[in-house]
């Protein structure tokens, strides 16, 4: 009996070495940030470095200014159809070289594949690829003057975008033209802390990701999307954008939302964001967008 217990004790000590909880040291990585917009000119690419959790973050200090950056338009077979060279402009932000000479070709083509390639001294080559969503059009809106929480929320009729292999997914963005504390809608007025918050932080906000299947398809093939009231932070002139996002943004935003809480993971369990950046992290995404300007008025 004693021997059995001794074996058990020793066995337990040995098995303790099986603990999967293992801390890995922080390793600095390149961060990519770029949002390409369908049918718009190529957008900037920003490069920076991650910082250790105990180090104060200074965006300027983390910027990478000496990289060589290209964005390639890929052919169907994956080969490079066209390349666009980028040049460093300011604090880690790279812009396409001489956009005037590129002309029409500098516009991001919907449903095409683009690849970012950045040679970063000390880090090697960082790459990421996006498939750009198809463009869509705003066919009409129900009204440009909307009573907050009135009987008729803002609705927009849009043509349907396309994305290979899945339904469209949207995020709504509202941006107040003239944000002011006294213009905050009641819910956001409760949230706003004058000592903690800057009103500019509330100017532009986005909804969570919303699948196209939430909306009815009209007989003419368009869909009518409805702005949720939670996205309305201010009374007054507001630009409402409807964005169809690519897979990279979809994964990034949904995982970022989980990082910030609210999923089925246990409290204190924080997953890494889902990026699609090779040899680095960040977001190289694309989206198609339409927008409308509306006036939000108090109900009474």
């Amino acid at each position: 009996m004693r021997i059995a217990l001794l074996i058990l004790l020793l066995g337990s000590v040995l098995l303790a070495a099986c603990d999967l909880v293992e801390d890995t040291p922080f390793r600095e990585e390149v961060v990519v940030e770029s949002y390409q917009v369908a049918a718009r000119p190529l957008q900037p690419v920003r490069l920076s470095r991650t910082a250790g959790i105990d180090d104060p973050y200074d965006a300027e200090a983390q910027a990478i200014v000496d990289a060589t950056v290209w964005v390639h338009l890929l052919a169907e077979d994956g080969g490079i159809e066209r390349s666009y060279e980028y040049v460093h402009q300011d604090r880690g932000e790279y812009v396409p070289v001489s956009t005037s000479s590129i002309g029409v070709a500098a516009f991001v083509q919907p449903l095409r594949r683009y690849r970012l390639e950045a040679e970063v001294p000390g880090f090697g080559t960082v790459t990421a690829t996006t498939v750009v969503p198809d463009t869509f059009r705003l066919v009409g809106v129900n009204s440009t003057r909307i009573a907050y929480q009135g009987p008729e929320p803002f609705e927009a009729r849009v043509t349907r975008s396309q994305y290979p292999g899945r339904q469209n997914v949207f995020i709504f963005v509202t941006e107040a033209r003239d944000p002011a504390i006294e213009q905050l809608t009641p819910f956001w007025r409760e949230i706003f802390d004058e000592e903690e918050n800057d009103i500019e932080e509330f100017r532009r906000t986005r909804s969570p990701i919303i699948n196209e299947a939430n909306y009815d398809v009209n007989p003419d093939g368009t869909i009518t999307v409805r702005l949720p009231w939670i996205a309305v932070r201010f009374y007054g002139l507001t630009v409402t954008a409807i964005n169809a996002i690519d897979d990279n943004l979809y994964d990034f935003i949904r995982s970022l939302d989980v990082q910030q809480g609210g999923s089925t993971l246990g409290p204190g369990e924080i997953p890494a964001v889902l990026d699609h950046v090779e040899n680095g992290t960040g977001i190289f995404g694309s989206y198609a967008t339409v927008s409308a300007q509306i006036e939000i008025e108090p109900l009474f």
Binding site: L5, L8, L15, A16, D19, V21, D23, T24, P25, F26, E29, R46, S48, R49, T50, A51, G52, I53, P56, Y57, Q62, E93, Y148, Q167, V169, V173, T185, P186, F187, E190, I191, E201, R204, P208, I210, N211, E212, A213, N214, Y215, R226, W229, I230, V232, D251, I253, R254, S255, S263, T264, G266, P267, G268, E269, I270, P271, A272, L274, T281, I283
Partner: protein, 747 residues
Amino acid sequence: MKYRLLGWMLLLAALGGPARAQERASVSGFVRDATSGETLLLANVVLEGTTLGTATNNAGYYTLPNLPPGAYTLVARYIGYRDFRAAISLAPGEHLRLDIDLVPDDVALDEVVVEAERDEAETRAIGVAQISTETVKRLPTVLEPDVFRSLQLLPGVKAASDFSSGLYIRGGGPDQTLILLDRTAVYNPSHFFGFFSTFNPDAIKDVRLYKGGYPAEYGGRLGSVLDIYNKDGNRRAYEGSLSLGLLASRALVEGPYAKGSWMLAVRRSTLEPLLAALEGQDGIPDGFYFYDVNGKVNFDASDDDRLSLAFYAGTDDLDFPFIDEASFDLRYGNQTVSANWTHLFSQRLFSNFTFTGSRYFSRPDFLFGGTSFSRRNNVYDVSAKGDFEFIPNERHSLSAGFWTGNFTMRLRDTFDDQEGLRERIQTVYAAVYLQETYRPSSLWMLRAGLRGSYYEEGNHLRLEPRLSVEYQPTADVRLQLGYGRYYQFLTLITSELFSAFDIWLTTGENVPPAYGDQYVAGLKTTLAPGLNLDVEGYYRTMRDLFELDPFLPDAAGLDYGDLFHYGDGYAFGTEVLLQRTRGRISGFLGYTFGVTARRFPNLNEGEYYAPKYDRTHDLSAVANVDLGRGWRFSGVFQYGTGQAYTEPQGRWKLVNDPFTSVATNVLVTTFNNRRLPAYHRLDAGFSRTGPFFKLGEYEVQLQAINVYGRRNVWFYFFEFNDDGTVSRNEVPQIPFPLPNVSLTLRF
């Protein structure tokens, strides 16, 4: 190979005893509480001085078949009761019906030491743990005595936090435990958002936990089974009790009638005066209550036929407008009903038929700034089950049964009054099992079973072999081995924070059932009368786990299979339990070494990780001391390795985010890469029992939870500061000594 062995055993059973049985005698009957007539489950019945013995089954029935005619001393034992002894004489061919009434005794007398019998065969079977309702009521508790909180003290059973009554058993999550109340599945047995379980300890007769390697008569879960039986009601006299607590009050009435007994237990929260006093203050809901009702009626139709009808209903209701234009309303609960018929075809053939109905509902409604979100989840489970137990002789015991039903799950989400998700799954399920227990000698016991499960949704048909072997080289030592394959057709979407939003989902056409194998080895010893030492080791696999994808932002328009992410896992560990069951000082010391791991594609880069409830070391010490003159002390000390959590290693920032006007901060993390500080807590309490104006008896309990104010960490959250730093904020579990007072009157 396993199936061949099973076949041989079943053949042996069929060919076994009947040839000699005609010459032999037998004795059988029910074992009951002498004061209330309640049947006692897993009571031991042995013939003194022989190797013959058995235990009562789930109906409190025992059979000792195929006995040589002669004179015996029959002894019946049950923890908390005085031993029963009777001299019996059996003539050739006699079938003696002997119903036994055991007299309760708070301090069991050491008057009989039964040696060499096969007693405690079931209570100390592999993977089995039992806890008495008296223990549940005596242990120091937060606000309410709770079955689940008490079970969490057993080795191999863990709690996620001070605020969660969920059972994490041998590395499995709460959905891997089948919870049965009077043979009826209960799907979300929690009150107060998961703080404690719905089972009213006043109403409960028996709590049995199969931590692993459970036998073929059960199925449907990967890990374990919790089998709870409500009281039948007092068959001898009318009784009642009233308990007043800080959170809720309870009442129980029970009594006999001409052909049986009845029982009704009610519990309701009593927070309304407190809420009224705090009305208008931040964080105080407009209304909150919960209640549960348990009832049972028994009809003793004849000596061989007993019928019962039992029901349970419980609901939690919260109305919480927490700021202007933001509110949260929630209503959730369970209802069960079961009709049971126990029939003795003969002394050797016992049967039980049950018809069950179970409903779970959860209806949260959120309103934020004029945008609503609502969820409606309903589970309906209607089933019929039958169990047969045939004992041809002392060597063989054959069990068989079926369980079939109709399971319906409905889930509907709306966002901003638009329906985003509507799922309805209605499926027939069925299971049959056959199990043989073979005792070739007093030293060996082999149990082999095979369960076949069918689930119509997805057309899944699975076979589940079960096997266990027990060798008893001496009267005080048992060596046990067990193996089993288990399938699970359901998955629970739960948050450790609030179980009120729990959702059950099922397998489907493209969603195969999860399955796993369990290997268990045990060493059970009796160091001295009433002093047991049990050691069990286990290893289990979990494959094809399907859980709601935690990264899923919106389920609208997705195929059912796309709602899930799929993964696997494993767990292994060793449990040690030193238990004293007799004397003025009783209790146990439990230790668990355990490892559990999961692997899902989008977490930890697809590598195995330790889930939050993984605890390497876990220690519980429970003591009940009878101080005399009606005074009693109860104490519980718990220690556990800190749970896994994610400590970010780095961060970065998006400064050009076109969708928001603030820079977006992102954490660089390795999933669950650190452990919280070790958990420990001491709870203690005193109780005093005495006469209450000659009308009955009172009991006053004074308890303190977290006596020395240990600030155990529940979790950390991380905040980005304006100066570019990240601060770690601690959310504690119960951080200070918490008193608890209750008064119970028994009539």
